[in-house]
Amino acid sequence: MKNSFRKWLLWAAILAGLYTAPVLFGVFELNLLLGASIFALFSLSLNLLLSFTGLLSFGHAMFFASGAYGTALVLTRLDGCSLLSAIFVGAASAVLVALVLSPLLVRVGGHTFAMLTMAFSQIMYATVMKFSHLTGGNDGMSGFPIPPLVIPAVGLIDMSLERNFYYFSISILGLSAWVMWFFTRTPFGSIMVSIRDNPDRVTYLGFNVPLSKAIILGVSAGFAGVAGSVYALFQNMVSVDGVLGPLSSFTPLINCFIGGLGTFIGPVFGTGIGTILLELMSAHPEQAQLVFSLVLISVVLFLPGGAIMLYWKITSRWIVLRNKFQTAILKGNHES
């Protein structure tokens, strides 16, 4: 009971912080915060596969990219498309990509899953470049119109104002994160963890493992798509390097590891740490990635639970936590 109260308190604190940010900060800091939030949602969606289902994806960017390109395309090609339906199209196209690929992806795990996702994201990269008349190729798509938000009985809210857009996107992102969190607490969430820990048992219990995996993949892709879609609106631009480049699949993975595997909220901390780190290094862009990679290596080597484990260690709850960490992710994964 106490634990759950704490969790609600954490959620409330994060929300309160996000909603008061525009009062405290200027446009630049606000943009930074929103950019970080988008990547936090992206990392959370990847974490759904990574921490809860035990699948390491090297190509999660393709779902992010589907969301971004879906939204950008519908806004470019379709006059009068509303804001929410543009986001819906983005999410739906990511889910569609996931569902099309799922018959191939659900059968494998471990390294094969990693390599297969990487192969698919490479194919997507090459395809986006080939259809440059549609996607803008290397130039990407930019400057598409961003429609105002229509709220019945209230009226139009202009999205070209930074503050309005911030409140809107933070709400979408927060809602998505909450739904995802809720998803992990449903009975289906437990199936997910069981698939990771002991897929055979799930089969004995009468659940269809490949089907369940496909559903998880779809959900994860859908939220990655929402993140991509908001990203396209936020930047008012989609570029192939930005959403499908070599680092775009690795960045959320790195966020998950730095934040802490085996927890839901870990990637949020990871993204926060990453953003702050890059910000601190902004005067020396040449060395930023080097420092970033060294942080990743040290986390993997010395702090396998990431920032969350560090926090737990500091609050001297680390023994409890270590047990929790080990039961949560490290034990008994029999999948090959």
Binding site: V27, D139, G140, S142, M237, S239, D241, G242
Partner: protein, 442 residues
């Protein structure tokens, strides 16, 4: 009587004040900077002088990390040259004050998203007065958009795609001082029309700039060399490892000249592969004169006849250019790190363009964006290799283009007897190569 005596000091003081003002008025025009006046022997782009206080802040939007970081370093070197020169003369008089120039770097990593964030930082946080850039047309288009949104001057000196300044992408805050793929292609084709070369092979990078250049050169050859034969056309991926299979294809096609848009490291790799395969088919383009590459060619035939097109070459005869060449050569002839002994191509060209930018600001006398725009539009400036004119309709610089084949021995090579330009570059007048104003722009 007493009161008059009391007035005396104040009268003297008043007279001194008048004298001071008059002398001030007298010397004020002399404060204006003149290019190439500073002592460049101490100039080092990696150790910029620390300048603070009330300055003119210039954002340098370039890749400083990622695959193209070398391009950013070169731009920093060139901008630093001009800033060093002007600052050592006391700066520029704007808004009634002498101000030094301060350069603030913004790293694009050649990725649009990173570039956008870097620009937001430059504009919103560092509060730059204007910004300059940049390698990559997909980055330059972000520059265009942000210049319009935040009403800052954006000087584009190295993105060549034609469409950047068409009716759709044009805005009044962006000025392009470099040439375009169309202009380069026309200059090359015009030059070829005076030579017997007729069989061309197009080998470009497979992305927008390479494809643009491929399209431009086909159009230009049709216009100037109607009997030209394009014996092959291939677009290769960026940062290609191995050019040999492409070159075997070129060899089999019977081409006399390869036309390529490649820039380093692709242009270097292409030349090295030609060298290793013992081919003697020359390459023409903008970046096939790089002395850092040509000094490594082992085969005597490789690189001979390479034809370079650019908006500036060191072998152009003007008085200013020979003075510039001498100063630059004295500074860098024995420099191990900078292998470029003569300021050719973009090196000299872009330095000239930066002088132009600051000259415009000096003449505008203010950092007011509108005043700078009205000063620059239609402005004419005498740069190293000739006149630069800023066309009002699409903010595209109009200038003569230069073509030069490479010969050996050349006095323009680092050692004086290696591969380099022929003695004198060929000037192609601007009215031959310039395209009319884009539709929809006046």
């Amino acid at each position: 009587m007493k009161s008059i005596r009391a007035l005396f000091p104040s009268v003297i003081y008043f007279c001194l004040l008048c004298l001071y003002i008059i002398s001030g008025l007298d010397t004020e025009p002399a404060i204006a900077f003149t290019p190439l006046k500073a002592d460049f022997s101490t100039y080092d782009p990696n150790k910029p002088e620390i300048i603070s206080g009330d300055t003119i802040k210039v954002g340098l939007l370039e890749p400083f990390s990622g695959q193209s970081a070398a391009a950013g370093e070169i731009s920093n070197w060139l901008l630093g040259w001009v800033v060093h020169d002007i600052n050592s003369q006391g700066g520029i008089m704007v808004d009634g004050k002498m101000k030094m120039i301060q350069v603030i770097k913004g790293d694009t990593a050649t990725q649009p998203v990173v570039a956008k964030r870097a620009l937001q930082r430059l504009i919103l946080k560092d509060k730059v007065d204007l910004f300059v850039g940049t390698a990559g047309s997909h980055i330059a288009i972000i520059g265009n958009q942000m210049a319009e949104k935040y009403q800052k001057i954006f000087m584009n000196y190295s993105a060549y795609s034609v469409h950047l300044m068409n009716a759709q992408n044009f805005n009044r805050y962006t000025f392009r001082t470099c040439s375009t793929t169309d202009i380069n292609a026309k200059a090359l084709a015009y030059y070829f029309s005076k030579t017997p070369i007729r069989k061309f092979y197009i080998l470009c990078q497979d992305y927008s700039y390479g494809q643009d250049f491929g399209a431009s050169i086909k159009k230009a050859l049709e216009e100037f060399v109607p009997d030209a034969e394009i014996v092959g056309e291939v677009y290769h991926p960026l940062w290609l490892k191995d050019f040999a299979p492409y070159l075997s294809k070129v060899q089999a096609s019977g081409a006399e000249m390869i036309i390529s848009s490649d820039w380093p490291p692709d242009s270097w790799n292409l030349m090295l592969a030609i060298d290793q395969m013992g081919m003697n088919i020359p390459v023409s383009g903008q970046f096939f004169d790089d002395p850092r590459m040509s000094q490594n060619l082992k085969n005597k035939k490789a690189g001979l006849g390479n034809t370079v097109v650019n908006f500036h070459l060191c072998n152009v005869e003007t008085e200013l250019n020979s003075r510039f060449n001498k100063i630059f050569h004295d500074r860098y002839k024995d420099n191990e790190k900078v292998q470029i002994a003569w300021p050719s191509g973009v090196v000299g060209g872009v330095i000239g363009h930066f002088y132009w930018l600051f000259d415009v600001i000096q003449r505008a006398g203010t950092m007011n964006t509108e005043k700078i725009i009205s000063t620059w539009e239609g402005d004419t400036y005498e740069s190293f290799s000739g006149k630069l004119t800023m066309r009002k309709c699409d903010h595209q610089a109009v200038m003569d283009m230069f073509v030069s084949p490479l010969v050996s021995p050349s006095k323009w090579s680092k050692t004086g007897d290696g591969l380099g330009y022929q003695d004198h570059g060929i000037r192609i007048p601007s009215d031959i190569v310039i395209s009319p104003c884009p539709e929809g722009l006046k």
